[in-house]
Amino acid sequence: MTYDHLRQLLVLSLLFCIQTASIVQGAQDLERKASMLLREEPENPKCFAEGRKDFTCFWEEDEETTGSVDQYSFTYTYQNENSSKCPLRALHTADGKRLYVCHLNRTQMFVQMDIQVHRQGLLIHNRSLLIELVFLLNPPANVTVSNNGEQGQLRVSWVPPPLKYMDDSMMYEVSYAPADSQTEQVEVVRASSELILRGLQPGTQYSVRVRVKLDGISYNGYWSAWSDPVLTNTLPADLDPLIVSLSLIISLILIVLSLTVLLSHRSFLIKKIWPAIPNPESKFQGLFTVYGGDFQEWLGQTNGGLWLTPVFFYPEESPSPLEVLSELSLSPSLPSPQEEEGGLDEEKRLGQVDSALMGQWRGMPHDQWLMDQLQTLHRQPAPCSQSSLLESQDAYVTLNANNHSGDEHLDDILEETAPLEVLFASMRNVSSESHSDMGSLQQSSGSGRLSSESSFEYPNHTWPPKGHGYTYMVVADSGVSMDYSPMSSSRVDDIGKVVIYANEYKNEIPAHRRPLLTSYM
């Protein structure tokens, strides 16, 4: 028995608790809705329907001026029907006001309802309304926000208020904003209980809430309260593969283009960036590689290399005494060398000189002749060294150190000089200097050959030098480059074999005739 009693008590207490909780919750809901309606609805009494069957009306009174609840009467009349009364109850609100509330559990919709509130017989409030046009629903429940796998999107879904026949008449507002910002956006949804939010920032937390209202065609009402906000993060930003691939392709194309341009202009760029320092290495064989840039030494060691010009010679070298010898007049009867343009007289004179020279030559020993030449040198300046490079057309003389008696060759030489004389005559007009040189040369050596602007090689067979002879050569160049090969004195045997040839502009010495030529030092 006691056990049963206890069980019954327990059940009753549980029921009581549940009911109290629901009542308290209902009261809280009512207070919330009442406060919202008090703000929005101007008419009195404020009425709203929460569902298909219930209906609540209330009005507010100040505590000071109000009476007891019995003083008030709430009367409502449907069209074409008799009026009815609604029992009132009083609620005390937080801000010192009193609410008188009428609640109906059965209603008729789509028909006009007239409401009258009397206080002690006096009409204080009057209102006509249609109940289906004053809905105030609870906010949507179970608002869920989730990622639907797309960038910058969120899927919002909720459960609509459980009202039969009214699902397709409901209108929703979804408010979303980043959690830390105050600017919110609102989307309106009709007759659907989910929405996809687009255009959201990736990787941010969004706060989403929903409220509901009837659409106003068949039913109407007020906006419900906002649902509790739901916080969700959007997907973090990731690289759009299309953008990444496009940027890679564009950069590749740009690189290829720039490489192509660089390669096509590489010679120009190289010249600009690494300008070629002029290197005279090619002109001086071995100057840098062997002698390390020491020009003096290099000059001393080489015989002029392959590509010598008088440019490098004349500033360095002074003519040797031998060279001056060529200008001495051996015979006093012979006219002194003069720079003059000659005519036929000169020709003759040359011929005479030539024969005179020959006579002289035969008479004098070679050494004595050399000494005389030397003495003459000291007395007379050597014009050759002062001559400008371009104007110098010095004759060159090759002295033959040949001990052979050149007598038998003299005739040959004499004969051979004849064409030279002709050459001299033709070239005399070009330069007077050379003429004088030629003249001196004729005088000085019988076996010597003269050259004018051009350079000749003189096989000097007939000089019978004693001791060691020198073969030397005066470089005469009027700008024409000559190619000389070094000669050694030991190769005097070959002198006789050299054949003379005359070349006006070039001096090409065949290799096998080289022995006669040597450069003086």
Partner: protein, 190 residues
Amino acid sequence: MNTVHQEPMLDGGLFALLLIVLEWTRPGLPSPLRPICDLRVLNHFIKEARDAESAMRSCREGCSLSESVTVPQTRVDFDIWEKKNALDQAQEVQSGLWLLHQALSSLRASVTNTALHSHLDNSIRNLLSINAVLRSLNIQEYTPPASVVAGDETWQVSSATDLLQVYVNFLRGKVRLLLLDAQACHQDVS
């Protein structure tokens, strides 16, 4: 003798069979109306009815009913409504629409304000469209009784605004509920 009697019966039976077969396979028979389940049609009618009501409310002269008309009751108590079966609901809606049609025609005749004429013509057209919609949902048509009987579901109005208000409320209430509950629509959806 027997054979003579049987022959016409056989012929009649064969003929009946032939008719049945032909009826069944009749070519060119128009297919039954597709059920119009989209309530946006009704929403459109409701909006136009509301426009007519507001126009009537702002009318000052030339807009009165010459005589009182019978209109259906528009009130809906959901408990009661849900207890009714589909047939009763359909009957209620169809009779109400018929009554409204009569009333609006009478109003149209008595209103002299030309601005309201278009509204009323529109409303009458919409009523006929609603009839077509209900026909598409296989809801039987209403055959009016020989004499008008004032029942529970009717009442008299003498004001044009009241009439139009009734019209609007009827569309929003009972007509809509009937369309929502129509079996034809539920069969398609499910």
